[in-house]
């Protein structure tokens, strides 16, 4: 049993607040400046995606799954496609797989650069935040060239990729030029961050998350890897088999480790992109030879940019979706962060929460609270009972 600490006051932040651009609410229970306990309410962006998907034709569903999250749109599209492909045993051509990996890694870099932007903004360092958004433009452009939209490239379709997203030779050349240029600038940027003593004094030793805690709370992705937990689903996925990359694992588990881990991971992504450009196989890009039909409940695990992502669904005999389920990495990551930010200053605690790269739009769904009389209540019930305030 955890001993209940005496808490002086509560500070609640959000959902409209500069530090958390997305709508969620942080309640910090503090003594003076020190956080004793933390609670994050994340259901403000709930829009019932899993219910919406019920009864839609599979191909139409891609439009919605892509809009689960705008930062990692490709992850959700690809994973929902993977579910259907695994369930209906659809062969995917090699070239399509390569291009899917390409767009995924491009978006992974863009997502990590958003993380830097957000983390440095929370740190109060505008110059580095802006610099990271400037660097990110390279990848937004590439996404627009490949998919036609900066945010929603919509590359994977069931059986392959969209014909528009095929790589031409000139596009390949553009990509390799841009990433070479980017790598030079990015290396400089990372070196400047690591050499800045003021930033490092804010980051080191704050927000410690031990390996045991990371495993216990299931903090997957970069957060777990920054705590010394070697867990990356990319190593288990057949799409990533042809490529050679390292999984970056750091042992410190503090905010600095979480920043550095992502900084290094970007270099691995660049490595993968180079390999794709070099040995992209020729051949068809889409396999149209399938019909939607009855499919049993299938699960697909995937390494999203923030951790482990699960999509699962079944199809009925007309090919309509039944029982779609999404489990995104952020809820578990946030639970770990609630733990990690205890014992720090308030300003540091918010940095810790930002350093797990929260992306809440995807993770909010049904919220059920268990009361003593073992009655379940949804948020709506609670609001009816207690009122808004």
């Amino acid at each position: 049993m955890m001993e209940r600490k005496v808490v002086e006051k509560e500070i609640s932040i959000g959902p409209v607040h500069p530090a958390l651009i997305e709508p969620y609410r942080i309640r910090l229970f503090v003594n003076d400046e020190i956080v004793e306990d933390c609670e994050i309410n994340i259901n403000m962006a709930y829009r019932g995606i899993e219910r919406l998907l019920e009864g839609l034709p599979v191909e139409k569903a891609l439009l919605i799954t892509e809009r689960v999250c705008g930062i990692c749109s490709n992850v959700h599209t690809w994973n929902s496609v993977r579910v259907v492909e695994a369930g209906l045993r659809i062969e995917v051509p090699d070239r399509a797989n390569y291009i899917r990996v390409l767009i995924n890694e491009i978006q992974r870099i863009a997502s990590h650069l958003i993380f830097f932007g957000h983390a440095f903004e929370v740190l109060g360092h505008e110059t580095f935040a802006m610099r990271s958004f400037l660097l990110r433009e390279v990848f937004m452009d590439l996404m627009a060239y490949i998919g036609g939209n900066r945010v929603m490239p919509a590359v994977p379709v069931i059986g392959g990729i969209r014909p528009r997203a095929d790589l031409t030779d000139s596009l390949k050349r553009v990509i390799s030029e841009r990433i070479n240029d980017f790598e030079k600038k990015y290396r400089e940027y990372v070196e400047r961050i690591l050499a800045d003593s003021m930033i490092m004094s804010r980051l080191t030793g704050v927000g410690l998350l031990s390996k045991e805690d990371a495993i216990k709370y299931h903090a997957t992705g970069p957060n777990g890897r920054a705590s010394g937990w070697n867990y990356d689903i990319r190593t288990l996925m057949h799409e990533y088999e042809p490529f050679d990359f390292e999984v970056i694992v750091l042992n410190e588990g503090d905010n600095k480790a979480r920043v550095v881990q992502r900084a290094l991971e970007v270099f691995e992504c660049l490595k993968i992109i180079r390999q794709i450009l070099k040995n992209l196989p020729e051949g068809p890009i889409v396999n149209r030879d399938w019909i939607p039909g009855k499919m049993n409940y299938t699960i697909s695990y995937f390494e999203a940019f923030r951790g482990e992502l699960m999509h699962s669904c079944a199809l009925d005999s007309q090919g309509l979706i039944r029982g779609y389920k999404i489990r995104t990495p952020t809820p578990t990551n946030l639970a770990a962060m609630e733990r990690a930010c205890v014992g720090d200053h308030i300003t540091d605690a918010i940095l810790t929460i930002a350093s797990c790269d929260p992306c809440l739009t995807c993770c909010t769904r049904v919220e059920v609270i268990n009361f003593d009389e073992s009655k379940t209540m949804t948020v709506m019930d609670i609001m009816k009972k207690y009122g808004r305030r």
Partner: protein, 149 residues
């Protein structure tokens, strides 16, 4: 053009409220603000996080039911004259969340068009709109501010 209109034209404080939806529009707005490539400040739009300081409210996302009240309250706190820019398909018509429903028919979680909740002056379509469009939207709200008494 009096001094009043010139002053209003030359300093516009914009505030971003994000009310659900995916993150796309949100990041693009932040991009328009923070990326030196777009740099909204050179068009005299300054960014603020305080409704008391704001002139233009940039609303993104399909309004989920928990965000309805905060949005209304926020709007009421902005001193007149004020403008509202709805950014993205979500804020304009609810996008897929409202219009592409499966078996349930009507999605009750989403109160989408922002128009239903607060008056909107400028609409920026797109999913997600480009940062250029967002900047243009924010600047388009200016004539209304200038003409206000």
């Amino acid at each position: 053009m009096g001094l009043k209109a010139i002053a209003r034209k030359n300093a516009i404080h914009a505030m971003l409220v994000y009310t659900g939806g995916c993150n796309g529009c949100d990041i693009e707005v932040v991009n328009a603000i923070f990326s030196p490539r777009y740099d909204i400040e050179q068009y005299r739009v300054l960014i603020t996080w305080n409704p008391r300081e704001a002139d233009v409210l940039i609303v993104t996302g399909c309004v989920t039911w928990q965000m309805v009240e905060p949005l209304k309250k926020l709007y009421s706190l902005i001193p007149d004259p004020k403008g509202v820019v709805a950014v993205g398909a979500c804020a304009i018509n609810g996008n897929v969340y409202k219009n592409m429903v499966g078996d349930i028919g009507v999605n009750e979680e989403v109160f989408a068009p922002v128009d239903n909740i607060i008056p909107v002056d400028v609409k920026v379509p797109g999913c997600a709109p480009r940062p250029e469009d967002i900047i243009m939207g924010a600047v388009k709200a200016v004539p209304k501010l200038m003409e206000a008494p």
